[in-house]
């Protein structure tokens, strides 16, 4: 008689607890899982201090077993600067959405990047304000419908989509800027590698690193999860090309 045993092939990360409040198919939960896996792999869970944003992921610390601070809207880089300067031994991550980082916190992120502060920014770009009900964000694509642009975004009235990685690439201080996405498994694994690299840059003391993650918002885009990832793959990557912008 053959005796067999069942072993989990993919052990779950200890840091990520699941049971999130996000909508079905939301990219935030996938990204939390990747962050948990990377932190477990590097073994830095007790040193991490995560600065939560305002937005859908305001409860991120409920699902990730880190220490952290919840900052005012857009001011996470300022808090992260203070935390990193006062506690240099800790690993500081800010987790920000596009309304948080690219709209109200543009000033903070540009100056933090220009000073070359030693922390890691995870920037989730889903092209709308998700939590407040789908208003237009600076990163909304031209022609994309949102609550405040019901006939689509016009460049004459609302301007053009803001490309944060390209903007920060004009500065001298950042060491690592990459734009990744989560629309299929290949890109999920690339995102994992990018997060790991950004955290290693901080552990080794190289400098400021930012990972921009193209994500979806099926509820506010009024699509099914599968359609929303197709939209990210076909439309968003034309405006926000994926790739490494800086790696030094």
């Amino acid at each position: 008689m053959r005796v067999s045993a069942l072993i989990p092939k993919y052990p779950e990360p200890e840091t990520y607890m699941g049971h999130t409040h996000y909508c079905p198919g939301c990219g935030h939960a996938t990204l939390h899982k990747l962050l948990g896996e990377v932190v477990d792999e590097l073994g830095i869970r007790k040193r991490v201090i995560m600065i939560e944003p305002v937005g859908c992921s305001v409860l991120a610390l409920k699902y990730l077993k880190f220490d952290g601070i919840q900052g005012p809207h857009g001011r996470a880089p300022a808090i992260a600067t203070a935390v990193k300067r006062l506690r240099p031994e800790s690993i500081v991550i800010t987790y920000q959405g596009d309304g948080d980082l690219a709209a109200i916190g543009t000033n903070e992120i540009i100056h933090a990047a220009n000073r070359g502060e030693l922390f890691t920014v995870v920037f989730v770009n889903n092209a709308v304000y998700g939590m407040t009900g789908g208003q237009m964000a600076p990163t909304t694509l031209l022609g994309q419908k949102s609550t405040t642009t019901p006939t689509g975004r016009f460049a004459e009235f609302c301007g053009y989509p803001l490309r944060v990685c390209e903007l920060l690439n004009t500065l001298d201080a950042p060491v690592y800027l990459e734009r990744v996405s989560l629309f299929d498994v290949e890109h999920i694994l690339k995102t994992r590698a990018a997060l790991k690299k950004a955290l290693l840059n901080q552990i080794e003391g190289r400098g400021f690193s930012l990972v921009e993650v193209l994500s979806n918002c099926p509820t506010n885009w009024k699509m099914t999860p599968e359609e929303s990832w197709e939209f990210v793959k076909n439309e968003m990557t034309k405006v926000f090309p994926l790739g490494v912008f800086r790696d030094k």
Binding site: S4, K9, Y10, P11
Partner: protein
């Protein structure tokens, strides 16, 4: 992690468990499964979402590729390897 060394032992089969209290029925896993073993069931969990179910197949069964585990946002999928002891 010692459990990661699972590729060193011979695997008899793979079994998938869907945690129904976590599943939100987003159906991303149905699209990525190369063997088409996952499908949407007709019963709802306590949150009210129709959950995904996995069907066992002895001949064209799970190959343990982990695509559904990677794409699941909620970690509702667990893949177990059946090994000889």
């Amino acid at each position: 992690m010692p459990q990661r060394r699972i590729h060193l032992v011979r695997t008899l089969s793979y079994q998938v468990e869907i945690l129904e209290d976590r599943c939100k029925g987003c159906q991303l896993c149905i699209k990525v499964c190369p063997r088409h073993l996952l499908k949407l069931s007709q019963h709802a969990n306590e949150k009210g979402y129709l959950v995904v179910e996995w069907q066992y197949s002895k001949t064209l069964g799970c190959i343990g590729c982990g695509l559904c585990y990677q794409i699941c946002p909620e970690q509702a999928i667990r893949i177990y390897a059946e090994v000889e002891r």
